[in-house]
Amino acid sequence: MGKVNLENVSPGMVLEKDVKERSGRVLLRAGTEISDRHMNILRTWGVTEVDVENLTQAEVNAQVTQQLDPEALKIAEEQVSHLFSHTDKEHPAMRELMRISVMKQLRKPTVM
């Protein structure tokens, strides 16, 4: 189904692929139901994304967006789109940075 960021993974989800650490050693096998202890293992080893069954990052992002105020979201997206106008918006890293930037814009008013 594709990778999901670790912050969006919760216990009870099932791994679709083996999780490996940097050097290639397997930490958890595909088919494992994720427990609290597994979450700790993943964090400790610096894993930032895993493949889980029946979920994609795009779906997670869509869910997060749904909970936001559509007006505020639209304004933030327009500002961010302008800020990024000289970049390749289809590049995976830029796409993620645009998402981060939108979320940051939306958080701003509460900080001030």
């Binding site: 960021n5 930032t48 800020l83 106008s85 390749d88 830029m94 981060i100």
Partner: protein
């Protein structure tokens, strides 16, 4: 006109403070001891205070407070302390640039933002001596200050053009002058006799694929510059996120999923680091 002629032209360009040269000589002298280096730094009480503030910050999060420079030298290391001394010293050098041309506080905030990001990226990659990335970030746009000093009228025109047409400032520089602020920065660092790695990193921060001797360093500063624009940490005259070199991004071997936690870490360290400017 070439970048070199611009830097070496009539108006005096700031030189590095004497104390930095002495620290650098001492660090490179195999016969000098840790105590010697500590003694030189301690002669400058404001530098001492700034360095102690940094080593006691979230940059290091040491379990106990470091009270003296001699202790900082042992724990942080001589090269690292030299790099931090350079980073904090250059911020005091450029005075007298009209605020309507360049908001100096915003300029150094962008530099710190890039430095902090580069340092975090380097930590992710487990690079040795991450302070050199911090200092490279501090210096990466320094050529723009020289442009402001040497040709304020041209710079004002370029900034206006950039604002009116939504253009990238570094591209206007290149188009009209034949070189950009990165090339100017390179000449300045050469004049200051700073290491070749710093010089190349600064020179190629907008086209890191051209860096042949220090490709990783250049790639890290390039990506850090992009991220600090995304997070809008300060501003050095550029109003848009500069284009990302996909070649540099691939060289870092990172995944997009690492960016969110990286940005959080940067935001946190940046807040604290900007207090050092004052």
């Amino acid at each position: 006109m070439q970048a070199r002629e611009l830097v070496n032209g009539a108006l005096e360009v700031p030189s590095l403070p004497m104390i930095f040269t002495r620290i650098d000589e001492s660090v490179n002298n195999p016969r000098s001891s840790l105590a010697d280096i500590g003694k030189i730094i301690s002669e400058d009480s404001s530098l001492t205070a700034r360095l102690l503030k940094i080593v006691n910050s979230a940059f290091y999060s040491f379990p106990s407070k470091i009270e003296t420079i001699s202790r900082a030298v042992t724990i942080v290391g001589t090269q690292q302390l030299r790099d931090l001394a350079l980073a904090t010293s250059v911020m005091k050098l450029f005075q007298g640039i009209p605020p309507e041309l360049m908001d100096m506080e915003a300029f150094w905030k962008h530099s710190i933002g890039c430095g902090v990001t580069a340092r975090v990226l380097a930590t992710y990659r487990r690079e040795a001596n991450v302070e050199r990335f911090f200092v490279a970030g501090i210096l990466h746009d320094i050529g723009r200050l020289i442009l402001c000093m040497k040709d304020p009228d041209w710079m004002k025109m370029a900034i206006t053009r950039c604002r009116n047409n939504d253009e990238l400032l570094f591209k206007i520089e290149y188009e009209e002058l034949g070189f950009d602020h990165a090339a100017v920065g390179r000449v300045l660092l050469q004049n200051w006799k700073l290491p070749a790695s710093l010089e190349e990193t600064v020179a190629f921060h907008h086209n890191p694929e051209a860096a042949t001797r220090y490709p990783i360093e250049a790639a890290i500063i390039h990506v850090a510059d992009v991220i600090s624009h995304v997070l809008q940490l300060g501003n050095s005259g550029e109003r848009f996120v500069p284009p990302l070199s996909s070649n540099a991004w691939e060289r870092l071997q990172m995944t997009p999923s690492q960016l969110a936690s990286l940005c959080e870490q940067v935001d946190r360290q940046y807040q604290e680091a900007t207090e050092w400017v004052s």
